[in-house]
């Protein structure tokens, strides 16, 4: 398995979250969480949990 490849995927996923933050912003954040997490953080954390 290519570690570099996975790093790129992880990085891309964070970018996805950041883009989603921009698009839907606080509207979605209010749905997703009451905490201060941003979507990119949530996505990566969930991905980590998924494979944990």
């Amino acid at each position: 398995m290519n570690k570099e490849l996975l790093e790129r995927i992880s990085s891309s996923l964070q970018e996805v979250g950041k883009e989603l933050n921009k698009i839907v912003g606080s509207d979605v954040l209010s749905i997703v969480t009451n905490d201060d997490d941003t979507i990119d953080t949530i996505l990566v954390n969930k991905l980590m949990n998924k494979v944990r």
Binding site: M1, N2, K3, L5, L6, E7, R8, I9, S10, S12, L13, E15, V16, E19, L20, I23, V24, V28, I31, V32, T33, N34, I39, I42, L43, V44, K46, L47, M48, N49, K50, V51, R52
Partner: protein, 403 residues
Amino acid sequence: MNFIDMFLVKLGDRKLLAEPSSVVGLLASSDETTRKQGVEQLTKLLASLVTFYKETIFPLVRTNIDHIVEDAKEDIKEALSYGVDVRSLFLDGEVSMLLRDMVVPKQATSFGKFNVTIGTGAFNVDHENPFIDLFGALSGERKKLAINTLNDLIEGTVDIDDIIIGENGHTKFSDLVIIVNSMSYDKEPEGTMGKVDDYRATLAILKNNFNYYAAKVSLAITRAVENNDLVFGKGEGYLTLYAPVLESYYDQGGTIEGLYGFYLSEAKHISLQAILAKHDLLKRSYEDEYRRMMISKKSVARDVYIHEYTKFVSAHVRNKEMSGNIITKVNTHLNSLSDIELSNVKDRVEEIVVDFLYPESGARRFVDSIDFFKKDIDNTEELIGLAVMDLAVDYVVNGIYVQ
């Protein structure tokens, strides 16, 4: 251990798919422009999912919570009248909130944290246990067995001890726990979010007969207590009941949520572009899609509908004479419909029931308790939002790896 290391360890020797044409392939590309394309596509998918949930699913949840509130309050009162020790009984999910917030808040909360939970649960907890996996299988004889088991329980023909789960982590709980569907998020370790099946099952339950089956289970428990088949508050009993609403959903095409579930289940097998196209189609004309799917299902049968809506009426109308009158009216109505009309009959039947029960309220369904339940509705939306995120992660993970 950092994220990537964890990724490597946990995924072991699974093969990397990451085909160049897949969204994961785009995300993993060494070419920055290509990666941006992947980011854009996945972002678009996520945004569309969130929009769909906000515009379609949330209103349905709100409506259904109205039902749950009113029915569950009555059920709990009835259970209490039989002397059931509510402190040792809570229904996971929405009904548990009723116990927590409305009936016995201090006692109920002593059992710990429980919330409205979306998309997680026993489906993916213990697949070695035949009962817990019954609805996880969601097909064929195993599904039938599960449905029959629950029906037998409701009819009082099964010794409840026979189906107490004995070989999973939940037995560590010292009090009886009833899960009417797959909602057990608060008791699951982080990272055990369910598969797509969980979501569509849960959503189907939210839309359909959750309150009906909650009521039936409540009465089954009451009956069991009366017959000394079940003792509350002792031992490590953990009883899991799955709502056989899945029967109608999977056999007949189900609801708009069911349709959405099919759509999601196909996500692994078609391209991202096709998913988005399908999603747009769904948003534009989901009713037409729904009818088409319903008509195409061979198992759609008039008597099945009549049976389902007879149960619906029975669950909502406690006065037997009134219930009988409504059932007669509903059956007459159903028998007058063509097959096509029958495929979209649910709303019509509900209208009949509502008109009969609340003639002054017009189209309004039952008592408006939204404000009363506002806090928990918010919580539901939050969790659905989380479910959206989980679906996205599911997609990414399933898109990357195979066993």
